[in-house]
Symmetry: C2
């Protein structure tokens, strides 16, 4: 962060919450009432592709924490013959907190634990043929992921999407396409060094 940015962005006082709490507040920031099930379904069609794929129990744990802090409220909705359900809504304090977080969180807090990259990095332990198998398997899985992102993008209900959400799903597709390209180049590069690399494990 430059000195200029530091001056124009005063340190906000934020509740000391994990970023997953802000992700749940973000899902609620449209100010509609949502159930835990709604939240999980929406997360699995959006956050899942770039951030987090929470279980229902994780979502309920976050909601309890946020409710304890006065950042969300809940009510029971009776549904006649159907089982009553619990609906959650963001409070004005919650909206302030998530807006401040979006504006001021540090940019360097991205977490990437790329286990396929780690395994290729250790390719000398399994040999070039096995590395090729591994990368091919990863590329196939990434192609399926792109299909899932595209479907989520194309079928997002109007009430859960906007230009930002759509742009990020397009960004996520592009990044996964770049992943396939970069791993394809890696395979070609390793093949060119094949004479120097044992095909079987060292």
């Amino acid at each position: 962060m430059t000195a200029k940015q530091r001056k124009t962005r005063p340190q906000a006082v934020l509740p000391d919450l994990p970023s997953t709490s802000y992700a749940v507040l973000g899902l609620l920031s449209g100010e509609r009432e949502l159930s835990g099930y709604d939240l999980r379904k929406w997360a699995s069609n959006s956050l899942h592709f770039f951030y987090w794929s929470p279980s229902l129990s994780h979502i309920y744990a976050e909601l309890r924490r946020l409710e304890g802090l006065g950042l969300v409220s809940q009510r029971i909705e009776p549904r006649g013959e159907l089982r009553a359900r619990r609906l959650y809504r963001i409070t004005p304090a919650g909206l302030d907190a998530v807006r401040t977080w979006v504006r001021t969180a540090p940019v360097d807090s991205t977490v990437l634990k790329h286990s396929v990259a780690l395994r290729v990095w250790l390719g000398h332990l399994i040999g070039l043929d096995s590395v090729h198998d591994l990368v091919a398997e990863h590329i196939a899985a990434t192609e399926m992921l792109i299909t899932d992102i595209r479907r989520a993008h194309d079928t997002a209900p109007a009430e859960t999407t906007n230009a930002y959400a759509q742009a990020i799903l397009e960004w996520a597709q592009e990044m996964q396409a770049a992943e396939i390209d970069a791993f394809g180049r890696l395979q070609a590069k390793l093949d060119r060094t094949r004479p120097a690399l044992p095909a079987k494990a060292s």
Copy 2:
């Protein structure tokens, strides 16, 4: 995983370890003796860019766990006037374990928590101008990261690198360059929709 792969890759019996343990075993898999400090230094010039940037205390915790399982051994090296130091070495069982993990770990265990993407996804809370500031800050940080990766690639000592390690650092550079390109396109796309987007927060 396809049925064919399932058949040709029998389920290996692996110690139930977090992947960070395998990362430490991987650093030791060259079979040289290394100190905790050596391991951290090497991790910060390699794993850091695609997997994990461990603290010294985290490395020592992993080494204790691995030693308890018989996967690494240690000895004290006297160094005359200098303080003696503790050196770690992978055992044959450790080498077997990390090789099996590299060959058989699931490809879908990559973790990505992209907080900048999450914040852009919530751009309606801060408005387009603030989203542009955020993306510009992230692009600048990513440019610095590419410089760091390139330096690590170009200065890697011969005893800690090989064709796989070099190829992954080149892959990491390409992925960060793709990140900059994709966020640049996202900015252009949001600008084209600017008439429909409030510049200030909703």
